[in-house]
Assembly symmetry: C2
Homo-oligomer: 134 residues x 2
DNA sequence: GTTTGCACTTGCAAAACGCAAGCAAACCTA
DNA sequence: TAGGTTTGCTTGCGTTTTGCAAGTGCAAAC
């Protein structure tokens, strides 16, 4: 176990996913429900394959994601969020809302967030339910 | 300006504060309203002084914090959150709530979060108002 | 006017990152 | 069933970032 810097909740959280890539992996899993290794590599940010492997391992180690057999092929792997990872949805939503206020973001994302703002609680509840179902 | 990796809101956010230290600086400023350079160094996580200087510069550059003259001494500096930084409060609250569910956190923080959960909206609204006032 | 405090800067070793290439197991194709 | 392709990684290696310790310059205190 990586040494934790303090018992502060924020600090402990950052110890796990406080880097430039982990939350992007979580994001991909929240939008796609499940991803293969190759899916993550296809993300527009262009994560390096060794970094991806390291992050996936770390996220699994910390119980945010889990690895499953692909139903169609032994060569493929499926990654998906655990309940602990799914519970990051509210954090992810707030990040999106903050970013929307201060950055230029794609029109489709903007439209989506407009919906979110109409009923944040409802969106999150429905989103988490959907993620748990998959 | 640091190159942005994509136009995804999450990615753009992480480009700015996606590291192990930035949100801890924001946290300190949210709880203390204003901090000197030395205050940040005193935080339990023990940030190195060169890293602190780099992060403060980066956060100021990106408009999350601002530097002010200390009213009592020219040798001191005061850092505080800008509106853009204050707007991260909802993100910070959700991180705390997530962490509370999955980590062991200090009793006083736990008690505080119990209050937050009673009226999250209200807490955030009041907190932001307070931060803007200072 | 010398010491102390404060906000940094500098030097350097260690760790993390990022790119490119390699690799084994599964799979597909003829 | 042989040979190429896809998939999920691992390895090497140069570059960047981090972290520790020491140093610097200015302001205030004594």
């Amino acid at each position: 176990m990586k040494s934790q810097r303090s018992d502060c909740p924020v600090s402990q959280s950052l110890d796990i996913w406080g880097d430039k890539w982990s939350l992007l992996i979580i994001r991909d899993l929240m939008t796609a429900k499940q991803c293969t290794y190759g899916d993550f590599l296809k993300a527009p940010e262009g994560i390096a394959t060794n970094i991806l492997a390291a992050r996936l391992f770390q996220l699994e180690e910390n119980g945010l994601i889990e690895k499953l057999d692909h139903p169609e092929s032994k060569a493929k792997v499926l990654y998906k969020l655990t309940p602990k990872g799914i519970d990051l949805l509210p954090v992810m939503v707030e990040i999106n809302l903050w970013a929307e206020k201060y950055f230029n973001i794609p029109a489709d994302r903007k439209a989506q967030l407009k919906e979110v703002k109409k009923d944040k609680e409802g969106f999150i509840k429905a989103g988490m339910k959907e993620l748990r179902r998959s």
